[in-house]
Symmetry: D2
Subunit: 345 residues, 4 copies
């Protein structure tokens, strides 16, 4: 019987052992509910230290959709619009949660090379906007998916360009960082350099895809927005009563660079996979920057790969998506490549 090799999503992975251990360790005695506990206080300090920001606030929430939609609702008035790349997760895969939480805000996708939101695309969108005309949703926030849903990333300079352009017209800036640790690992820059120092007001900080059990988070660099989020997060039902068990995951995640090391393993195995696929003559959509590979594969070959025990998703006609996680090993990738070689021959 063939064993399976998991390449569907980093969401399919389990929980990092140190995070599980931290959870077990936190299960001691009693603690104030709803965030009035010492673990949550410690997490706040950790976030401020890791992001080098004295007033940053952190709000654990149970999903990336919640982090994105609540962040954007706090930045975008009901009559505003969020500008993002046309491939963005907030536009395509969150069932318009942002429109609901913002009271009817619009989400507008714009084109851009390598799936990135560029200042040029913003210029075009701004030029097409009738500013101040209430017949039209007013551009209010830019949202960058970093890494993008196609695994490309933004350097700090590439973040700064659209956020500056945005700020010049009064827009705020949000980053959907569901996999931001993977980008940080590659870029080698600090979390601050990829976020608030280049104009980002609020970050959706992914953790679940990279080893946490039940929590992502909003990291907010603007105290006025944080004040709103206190209420928005609560009435969305995202304030866990036993908050300490959400906070401790995030604290363990951010401690001693653990998030970066976990992401590094995912990035490394994807690099190994991509090199192997290229060697096998497979065409990649883009060179994978982080832990996602998009490859052109004929339908028949894809079916044979599935029969060989590879678990992966299609990503449109003739394209498959392969994702590694912190749990993926080099040995698994070697095994996968061997099976693919057989499947293709």
């Amino acid at each position: 019987m063939t064993s399976f090799i998991e390449l569907r999503s980093d969401n399919s992975a389990g929980v990092a052992p140190k995070i599980m251990a931290a959870l077990a360790a936190a299960n001691t005695g009693s603690a104030l509910a709803y965030g009035g506990d010492e673990w949550t206080a410690r997490l706040r300090d950790r976030v401020r230290e890791v992001f080098e920001h004295p007033t940053a606030e952190v709000f654990p929430v149970v999903s990336g959709t919640a982090a994105n939609a609540l962040s954007l609702a706090a930045l975008c008035p009901p009559w505003g619009s969020v500008l993002c790349h046309e491939s963005a997760h907030v536009l395509r895969s969150e069932c318009a949660a942002t429109s609901m939480f913002s009271g009817g805000g619009a989400i507008r996708g714009v084109p851009g090379e390598s799936y990135r939101l560029t200042p040029e695309a913003l210029d075009e969108a701004f030029a097409a906007t009738r500013w101040g005309d209430p017949h039209h949703s007013q551009p209010s926030v830019v949202s960058l998916t970093l890494p993008t849903d196609y695994g490309t990333i933004y350097s700090p300079v590439q973040v700064a360009a659209p956020t500056e352009r945005a700020r010049s017209r009064g827009l705020r800036a949000h980053v959907d960082g569901a996999r931001i640790a993977n980008a940080l690992d590659v870029l080698g820059c600090s979390p601050a350099e990829l976020t608030w120092r280049v104009g980002v007001d609020v970050l959706s900080l992914g953790a679940t895809k990279n080893g946490a059990l039940s929590t992502d988070a909003i990291v907010c660099f603007d105290p006025a927005v944080s004040e709103q989020l206190v209420y928005r997060v609560k009435r969305a039902g995202h304030v866990a009563s036993k908050m300490r068990f959400q906070s401790v995951q995030l604290d363990a995640y951010l401690t001693d660079g653990r998030w970066l090391r976990l992401a590094h393993q995912a990035n490394l195995t994807t690099a190994h996979l991509a090199a192997g696929l290229t060697r096998l003559g497979m065409e990649l959509l883009v060179p994978p920057a982080v832990n996602m590979t998009f490859a052109r594969v004929a339908r028949e070959a894809a079916v044979r790969m599935e029969h060989a025990g590879l678990l992966f998703y299609g990503a449109g006609e003739g394209v498959i998506r392969l994702v590694t996680s912190f749990q993926t090993t080099e040995a698994e990738i070697d095994d996968a490549l061997a099976r693919i070689e057989t499947a293709l021959s």
Copy 2:
């Protein structure tokens, strides 16, 4: 140095060991995200078995507020109103989350003895309603808090009475069961007998207060409402990506009557506490049915109790609330009573 005795809330407790063990056991291999995993399938079967209902669906969500607000939004049109007791949690402690998720539905508190919603109170509310007049929110759902926020409970007959009255006017019925296990333990009836067999369409099933780590749930007995909830829960950001870790908690919770045993311990220690307080001459607001005691205590005495290391909350002028959890021991209660005796003397 004085040690503390935790009587603030069952939310302050930790995670039941068996649930922690189940979490650790689920952390093996990979699993499809967003509920496409075997743990979630098993949970659905478990819920159907425990509630003896062949088409019940279960939606893990991260808080009771989420469970309540999403359930009620699925049952109440935007122009409708939810009728509940004037002390209900959905009315007083959820920042109008139900109004947000329902698109502006109203929540109306009505009076009722022992904090219960009664058919008589519904009759009055119905009589005061201009049915079909669009100037007025139309009563659409009744919501029973069971146990109530003051620790009283409804028997199956007491549930049936208002839900029948509601149904006769076309209203649906919801139970906020944040502590329903505690009621089931006392009543000795089956989960079915306290819910769908007495007219309940949707149940907010509490688990966090009684030993889970990060999840409560919606249990829905009406397939048409379940279809809506699939979307409502997702766009509220309450579909955890690593759903298996939410599902496995609930499955362990409901297995082999564990939820009832955990609740039993909480109820037992409260009974012990209440007997002791009465012996000490303290007046109780209502005889505690489950794990909450409300006692009349002069401000000075309350302060002395705090100084003695008792952790508890005030509940209005001259009243304190003491709550036990599955973790509370008889020894702790004995200790608490001894300290109170000293404090009062």
Copy 3:
């Protein structure tokens, strides 16, 4: 055959002749749509002159419900609450429109003598509020119905008292002035003295009940709120394309004190009616300040009054409501009193 005497509502009246004439006069040539016309510009100037406020803005909308709900939504965050008297129209007769437009804001009724919101009632509400606790909707606006739904009024001092108390806790102030002209006529004060000079931020200016054809308005004294209203009013579909025909009604209404004269006639005929009813031995709920009378009448007598051709509404057990309008004449009231005398005998 008996003729009818209209005392159901000032909403049942027609259009004041001068307003009809102004409409006909505006039907000349072409004009920019959506408010870019000269009539709308003139209306803005008129409002600034009449209210003696240099930056007031006016937004014609088609109903009082729209004026109230949009005003309150602009003043109240989604997690906020509107405090009003428990008899207020915004609470009881607008199908929670304010909750919808505000994204789920709460509307809270508080008691108060003579149907007025008092600083004492606010003090109690504030004392019961857990400020800054996201479990609870945060009091954000006070809304005064002036005149109240029971025809009582607030003097400038009685407006100032709750708005000051409100402002001291950071709340904004709104007046539902569906019949404010009737109050101004009685009080003899200026529009400014009853609104922004005593702390009112936004006024719902009623016109339809007092002679307009199809428009009420929002008058906003805070430029920052006005900026929001531009968008809120538009996306609620309340920007009439042929705005000139809404603006010209309001302009004619406010010109040369016409609104006050129209209201005076309604007030006068009610005073005449009330005196007559008292003479006939009928008990009034409150001495009518403006154009509404509430009288205690046994059911049988009420039926006889209806048979005599009087059109009026019940207002709860044993109480009837009689409302006059700008069209009501003294002769009609004499006729009504004669019929009532016969009916009661």
Copy 4:
């Protein structure tokens, strides 16, 4: 001094004399408010007769945006999406009002020749949809703008094709008929043949652009949807208190084919204009089917036309839009053409 010729919008026109006369005639005696009057009853009968539909209901509202957004909100669940042509008014010019009223529904534009929504475009949208996957807004309604914002129209067959395709996947169908009278005039079909007989559930019936003073309307052919609209329209503040004055406009508009005659004049003058422009060598974007002409004009020429007293709007780079109304005369068009000839030479 040069006189102006109005070609900016049919919104710039005034009120048709017969409608003004009907308004004056309705200003007699008293009438029940909020639609309980005889004019509103008569309007309902008129709509049923004109549309040959025994259960159609009509809801006067103050704007086309209100008619569209409220109709679509009644047809589209919060997690649904509205599919329309990418040039549709509901997508581009209503500040996402539909998203607000629907509780966060999405509006999706799709391409299509001549600005029409086609079954082929729906097929593509349906193929790209993950049906039943709550990550994605579910297509729930199609909305056809008829005539389109570029003045093209749909024949009954062209309406039937997309509505059938829509119905086959469970979607409902809406027509934004802001200028539907203009289309009916050209097509020569009956109102029924262009709406419910070809699958349309709800129609936004434009009247303001074609001679009414302050009202458009929703015409609903599905009684279950009408039941919802009773509440949705009220809590949007679109139930005018003196409803008779809205209803009487619509009744006069629909009586004796008046709406078609008014539209005919607008269509006729545009045909005259278009023929003239073609004669002058001007390129038209599409041959005008109704009362709108889009012509390619160099910027300089456009400026000269403006200086010559023509009032019109730009419609993107190098394109101008000329719109006639029921008030436009042949003489005005002759004058306009003469001025344009001079301006271009």
